[in-house]
Symmetry: C2
Subunit: 466 residues, 2 copies
Amino acid sequence: MFLAGAMLLPIPFSLYYGDSDSLALFAGAFITFVCGLVTYHTTSFDNDLRAKEGFTAVTLGWIVFSAFGCLPFILSGAIPSFTDAFFETMSGFTTTGATILTEIEALPHGLLFWRSLTHWIGGMGIIVLSLAILPFLGVGGMQLFKAEVPGPVADRLAPRVTETAKILWGVYVAITLLETALLMFGGMSLFDALCHAFGTMATGGYSTRNTSVAAYQSVYIDYIITFFMFLAGVNFSLHYRFIKGDWKAYWKNKEFRYYLLIIFLAILLIGIDTFVHQYDTISEAFRYTSFQVLAIVTTTGFGTADYEQWSASSQFVIFILMFIGGSAGSTSGGIKVMRVYLLFKFVLSEITRLIHPHAVVPVRLNNTTVPRDVVFNVLSFFVLFISIYVLGVFFMTLLGLDLITSFGAVVACLGNIGPGLNQVGPTDNYAHIPDMGKWILSFLMLVGRLEIFTVMVLFSPSYWRK
Amino acid sequence: MFLAGAMLLPIPFSLYYGDSDSLALFAGAFITFVCGLVTYHTTSFDNDLRAKEGFTAVTLGWIVFSAFGCLPFILSGAIPSFTDAFFETMSGFTTTGATILTEIEALPHGLLFWRSLTHWIGGMGIIVLSLAILPFLGVGGMQLFKAEVPGPVADRLAPRVTETAKILWGVYVAITLLETALLMFGGMSLFDALCHAFGTMATGGYSTRNTSVAAYQSVYIDYIITFFMFLAGVNFSLHYRFIKGDWKAYWKNKEFRYYLLIIFLAILLIGIDTFVHQYDTISEAFRYTSFQVLAIVTTTGFGTADYEQWSASSQFVIFILMFIGGSAGSTSGGIKVMRVYLLFKFVLSEITRLIHPHAVVPVRLNNTTVPRDVVFNVLSFFVLFISIYVLGVFFMTLLGLDLITSFGAVVACLGNIGPGLNQVGPTDNYAHIPDMGKWILSFLMLVGRLEIFTVMVLFSPSYWRK
């Protein structure tokens, strides 16, 4: 029913621009509302959600949203195939931004707005998921955030989630509105500014233009979006603390510092390379490099330049950034900086342990020792991420895609980025992928978005055993 | 001095075939002997080697062998560049089999024999290293073999290593002689049979022919080598137990079963694909598929077909086999089946732990619980392997190689395989790689061969602290 309400929001834009998609949006909202109402009245649930049920609830949530959220695309005839429409909507709600549209500007304004809004709604879900739900489900080391999230300390999940959600959504809405205003100041229409702000803050990447942000040819807009992509890749509880007056909140945080370091190194490595081989001036090299680095490391996927024109080493840095992703507790995907940092510290501690077999070498984060169980969680996340990546690439090659396209498509979807490499590169789209491939990639978006384990536990026989 | 003695062994072949390389071999042996003698008399060492010193001793051993072992190539003028000769010899002693030679058959017989002998000597070193030394240094989970290795149970390293080495080398020599005899039965000369048996049992892959094993055009020889590659990829302590009369030794071992399973699945997946797209008969598809699968998974690298002509999915399976490698305690490289198995079991146990947070879910191997410390060791091995792989690929792309060539070259050297992908594929060689690249790849061969940690601890500041 919430989704049905959201589907009505694009209608004013549709009417304003005189487009013909209002009816499809309204019909979609109506069907969704009726189904919601029937389900609400025919099912009953215990208010006291247990951890185990949390996995199913979250996974089903994203699937149901995508299945109903694609109705406007189908009903309007804009995306006639259910596979395509589902892919596009899952890509929206998971804030991936991979598109099957070959001609984005041909879409009516209502649908374009809805497409960007799915990002923004997905982003809302992810912030709450990663900072209020997953820490209590103990997924992939997210329990480290138990102590960090704002809101009342409570034992039961429901009231805590509600309070935390209110606080974080406030931050999310505020930053989105600020970006919208700044983009309008740069000459964007309210419609374009909102859509791009949705795409930025959710680290989604759907644009209203065929050539993405490059279409605006504006240094100002490029840097505004670069800066807000950077913000969207930061743990939202840090934004909250900063707004509350804790001016050192960012700098005190180890993950934030490493996030900065990774961005700095990537811009340096690619910047030198593109300045030598591609661009005429340092400012041009910096502008395009920083935009693309932020677009990829935050897993947003907007584009102002085609990184496939860069050298192999720069492309490889981009490829590795796709795996790393932004900060935990942000809307970005990928493995996340916090986990990469813990993996790195873990390996160092193991090397020390080889030299001094009887020494106790703890892994530390933000001046506290990370429990071994959490280190195990993070390691299993990494192993599973790589395993699913390998399986995904294998399935893509089976469908006839070449190696580089498969390498790119799978990380672009599993890491919720959008653009990949070769045939799914930043100037291409996913229209040509076989239907089976689109379903596999949709599944990978979901798996990546829900931090792998949330979905994978559902495939474990012991989950279903009484 | 041992190496100097070994350098004399090819001379009879050189004389028999009337080649002109005897002098270079003799001169190389002489220089090596004199240097050895001087070092022996000017240095003194405590007989009671400590664990910490073991890392340096082993790493230096491989470097010194490669530095002196390349003398015959340089002195004869066959490989004038030191970089090339060192690469070729390191590739030999690490049983990698990556070659910089564009015209192998132009080499005189003495040097060809020496080249193959470096494999065999390297293989001897690896068996003892992995079954007698690393278990006591606690590298990458190898301590699991503490209880499994043959030989007397002793607290001090030296006598135990000596006893274990004698037993395992007996097995190694016996299987090598058996293969030599069977290859001669198939029409090979003693020279060719010995060289190929050396290359097989060490999972090295240097051939005496430009087109590798394909040159013999013999179904019999193909299957003999396939079978012995299979044996070379098995833990040598299992061979020993089998010879001693424990007929169920293989089957009782979990790693062996998974090694079989991986080979079976790979042959099935690639076999169906190549039968449909490449070969006319099932027997032809089976012959070429099984040879190539065994050549890659055991990290031997012999070739009878160009897998780069296969479809992307079959190439991807080959690519993944390169990472997996053969069994621990064999002469093969890569991550090793035992570790892949433990990673898989670990992820399953972590999924179960998410569902039942208070359950104790141990990781088991061969009916015993694997201590958490060992699981940590294996995990750190995996993370470090992937990290070094990523760094290696980055350096290769910096030198101007394309992505696929870099992906292939780095795993082919780090995993001690030999042939990689694209420009270093099975029909190519490493001659065209820039000198800096050859040094990096030589380093990666060493790192991979010594199970990563043996070399990496030497880069840790705490290793050098008093």
